[in-house]
Structures are given as C-alpha cells and as structure tokens.
Amino acid sequence: MTPLTAYLLVAALLFAIGLAGALTRRNAILVLIGIEMMLNAANLNLIAFWRYGPHPEALTGMMFAIFSIAVAAAEAAVGLGLVISIHRHAHTTDVDLMNRMKG
C-alpha cells in the first residue's frame, strides 16, 4: 500500500464516521460535529494529494485545505448560532423533534 492510498483510506473512514454521527445522533450540536468531521476528512485528502501529487510546488492542495479550514470555521459559527436560536425558540436541540415548518 502506498502512503497516498493509506491516507485516502483513513480519510474515507473518518468521513464515514462523521456521516454516521451526523445521521444517527439526536443532538443538533453533535450533527454539526459530524459535519465538521466530514469536512476535515476532505482536508486530509487534499493535503495528501498535495504531498504525493506530481506538483507539490504548485501549492494548490494546501491552499484548498487552508480555505476549507476558514470556511469550516464560518460554518461552525453560523451553525451553532442557529442551534442556540432554535433552542431558545423550541427549547430543544433534538433534531427528531424539529419537524415543523411553523415557529
């Protein structure tokens, strides 16, 4: 197994764990945690491809990962703000109970 394959498999496993978390947990914050984990798995892929790709001096993969980190931070901030807002409104963070369109 080449290093790149190993990193890709690790990233795939991490993505699957994050997906499982996002799909199975009740708490909205833990759903967000799962999504963050999936984003991170993608970052690992980008960095691994940058490192073992034919043109590491082009920096594209690394740049993509850095931008992705910044976007993930923004996503977390807004997502958690929404969770807090929903909790204030509906007094729950259970995604199974958030099934109404009306406030």
Partner: protein, 170 residues
C-alpha cells in the same frame, strides 16, 4: 508507513469514534478535539506545517470552544431520556457503511493509477510560509478576498441569529 503514522491514525480515529459514540455531549466535544489534534499531526506528518498549525489554531482553539459553549448554552450536557441516538439510527449506520464501502472500493481499485512514490519516499516539498503568503497575495487573491467576505458575513450572521429576540417582534 512508519510507526508514527499508525499511532497518529489510531489517535484520530479513536477520537472521532468517541465523539460520535459517547453519551455525554461535553465528552463528545472533548473527544472531537482529540480527533482534530490527530488530524493536525497528520498534516504535520505530511510536511504541511502551515496547514497543521492553522488546523490547531482554528479547530482546537476556536471551533471546539465554540461547540462546548453551545452545548452549555443549550443544556446539551444533560443526557436525554429517550436515548442519544435517533430512531432511524440503523438506516443512518447502513448509509455510512455503504458510503465507506464505496469510497474504500474506489480508493483501492484505483491504487495503481494514483500518483505516489513507487518504492522510495519522495523528498518532502520545501514550502516556506513566504511562498504561501506570496501565493495567497497573487494567484489566490480572489479566493482570499471572498473568504474574508464570508468570514465577515458569518461573524455578523452568527451574532444576529443568536441574539436575543426582542419582545414583540415575533
């Protein structure tokens, strides 16, 4: 694939699994931090120093703290009565397993076509922070500006969304 690689991978995956499986939400957030730190170590292992430190700074320093704050503000640390997993957990698990199976099949199936060192490990690319800065300010200046705009919008948006609703506006 040295010993260090396996230790870091084990740390990352253990943290990720704990973050998904543990009952107490705060424990999940702390386990998530371990997973993030493990990923940062993998970035360092891949000679991406800047990305690794940025990962620690953003995820361990900011996102993890944000998550625990949100948990405490929403009383999320109290274990709910009807279990922590959704009613449809089996379907979710099946989907995740299927996704992993497809991804793993794709990766292993294309292992021959992937670029990578056949035998000898390639020399690590020497990327200085200066090069990253120059690239950010020349070739990637448009994405940089867009990210700046996005972060500003997210900052204002998060504050607006989480702010107390004034009485009578509903």
């Amino acid at each position: 694939m040295g010993f260090v690689f396996y230790v870091i991978v084990a740390l990352t995956l253990a943290g990720a699994l704990a973050a998904v499986l543990l009952k107490n939400t705060v424990h999940c957030a702390l386990a998530l931090t371990v997973a993030f730190a493990g990923l940062a170590l993998q970035f360092l292992e891949l000679d991406a120093q800047f990305a690794g430190f940025a990962q620690i700074l953003v995820y361990v320093g900011a996102v993890a703290i944000l998550v625990v704050f949100a948990i405490l503000l929403t009383r999320g640390s109290e274990t709910p009565k009807d279990g922590v997993f959704s009613r449809t957990w089996l379907a979710g698990l099946a989907i995740a397993a299927a996704v992993f199976a497809v991804l793993g099949w794709a990766v292993l199936g294309s292992a021959q076509a992937l670029p990578g060192p056949g035998g000898a490990r390639t020399a690590p690319p020497t990327v200085t922070v200066l090069q990253i800065g120059n690239a950010l300010m020349s070739r990637y200046v448009l994405p940089l500006e867009i990210v700046a705009l996005l972060l500003t919008a997210a900052l204002i948006g998060a504050v607006m969304v989480a702010m107390h609703e004034k009485a009578g506006t509903q």
